[in-house]
């Protein structure tokens, strides 16, 4: 709650910069239009015009806010296809698309983080994996996923996998890597004395993992999970491009295809809200876990 004022201040600053930028970036179009119409216009007209263009280079915040409101509340509550009148979420509303994306992102993140942690454990415990797998895990991430996402989906589709799973697979593909890198570091972070202690007990590898390496890796784990969940969202959205179904990704693409800047920004806001919510959720888990472990500062 102490953060309300700071957050509001920062948001106010951003809005201010945003408005100024909007005027600056949309001015050219206003001037060009005036020139085509053969009239002279001054800055005040430009400023006014810049905030109500239909296809601005940078839409003004209130345009985005209005569009966001229209595509969520208005669409659901008043729209013909909205949940109030049809009983199901409207395919024109961002709520619906956000939920579709969220389910794939969540599933992908779980798969990716789980796989990432397992891989990290393998890498830390097994020399062959450390030497053999790590370079390829790195290489795997340099493959431009967008290039092969359609292929993956084609292949998965042809073996009968469809629905949320193909998207989740790609989301997992992007999110496992930050988790691997962070966890390898984290699992190796206990200092010599801490590991020596377990050696004197002749603790097994699993015990060393459960009682030392894993607890010691917590700060790294959570930093990685936050990055991983954001990466998972990127993966889902990328995967949605070739699928053409519902989801924020398709929605962004469609908006972009029809040059509807305001709609893109509204969708972006929805995606960012989704990401922030998920990062926030991870942060919450982090706080609870660290407090439980007595590591909260």
């Amino acid at each position: 709650m102490r953060s309300v004022l700071p957050v509001l201040t920062v948001i106010a600053a951003i809005l201010l910069i945003w408005y100024v930028a909007a005027v600056g970036m949309n001015a050219q179009w206003a001037r060009d239009q005036a020139a085509r119409a053969g009239v002279e216009i001054g800055w005040s007209e430009i400023a006014v015009d810049a905030m109500r263009q239909e296809r601005p280079v940078l839409p003004a915040p209130h345009q985005v806010a209005l569009e966001f409101w229209r595509l969520t509340w208005t669409e659901e509550v008043e729209g013909r296809r909205g949940i109030v009148q049809s009983g199901s979420l409207s395919n024109r509303s961002l709520v619906y698309h956000a939920l579709v994306t969220l389910s794939a992102t969540g599933l992908g993140f779980l798969i990716g983080a789980g796989f990432g942690i397992l891989l990290a454990i393998g890498i830390v415990h097994n020399r062959a994996m450390d030497r053999g797998v790590m370079p390829w895990a790195i290489a795997s991430q340099t493959i431009p996923i967008v290039a092969i996402a359609p292929m993956i989906i084609v292949v998965l589709n042809s073996v009968g996998v469809s629905g949320v799973l193909p998207k989740a697979v790609i989301a997992a593909y992007l999110s496992f890597f930050p988790v691997v890198v962070g966890m390898v570091k984290g699992l190796r972070s206990p200092d010599a004395m801490q590991t020596d202690l377990l050696r004197t007990y002749n603790a097994g590898a699993m015990q060393g993992l459960g009682k030392l390496r894993f607890p010691a890796s917590m700060p790294y784990l959570f930093a990685s999970l936050k990055v991983g969940v954001a990466a998972s969202l990127v993966g889902t959205i990328v995967a949605e491009l070739p699928l053409g179904g519902a989801g924020l990704g398709t929605r962004l693409l469609a908006g972009s295809y029809y040059g509807q800047t305001i709609q893109i920004w509204a969708t972006l806001i929805a995606a960012a809200l989704l990401a922030a919510a998920m990062v926030g959720a991870v942060g919450m888990v982090q706080r609870v876990t660290l407090r439980r472990m007595g590591m909260a500062r």
Binding site: P150, G255, Y258
Partner: protein, 306 residues
Amino acid sequence: EDVTLQLKWVTQAQFAGYYVALEKGFYDEEGLNVTIKPGGPDVAPVQVLMGGGADVMVDWMPSALAAREQGAPVVNIAQPFKSSGMMLTCLKETGVTGPEDFKGKTLGVWFFGNEYPFLSWMGTLGIPTTGGAEGVEVLKQGFNVDPLLQKQAACISTMTYNEYWQVIDAGIAEDDLVTFKYEDQGVATLEDGLYALEANLADPAFEEKMVKFVRASMKGWKYAEENPDEAAEIVLDNDETGAQTESHQKRMMGEVAKLTAGSNGALDVADYERTVATLLAGGSDPVISQAPEGAYTLAITDKALE
């Protein structure tokens, strides 16, 4: 009987005929259970076809023929689009009045298999596409018409039924634009046709299925031509993204109807020959290196139109 159709692009009135056939039950009448898969910027329909993800696809002939040369044996089984809707749209203020003014300008072009008509055209004009004062600077154009509005390019590729109207909607008057239709420049190539795999077509049962499919699809197209507004509504209902607007789709349907008007579904071999000739004439770097064999069949439409 199941049939999966892979579209070349997202759900829009460009594909109205198929959606109409689906919604109006024309496919049901033929005993077909049709699934329509929308495409997107990164979906190569041929790949989906080869991977077994679809039975039949909508594609442009240049890219289909190029794919055929690459070892993907696709065959044109029907050609609902008679004429080409592709054009180059320029801002008048950049001083472009004819193809001779292109030199030294920046032009926006779609890639991903859609660049062939443009390359052929430039080949015929003898303009190199590598930039410089004597050539044209080519930009890979994204999804929309921003490069023109932002004046990043002098001309961009547009379709009569889609992007052109986005430029207009953005507030640029028709008078401020100069357009070059590929049809008018004599370099038109065939657009949206239906293609299936050669190997599948060898199977009489599959062939029979395609006959039914083409027959129902054409029925859909003709219905759409006659009832453009209803067709646009049907498209809107099938658009899962919910991003299309009614006015734009209705107008698009009207424009698309002009392109499908001359076709009963059967491929006009003269059009085919013209397309092949254009593609072969691409100067130093033609799109296809030799005239293809067996790239089309009239058998399906012959039976369908009986």
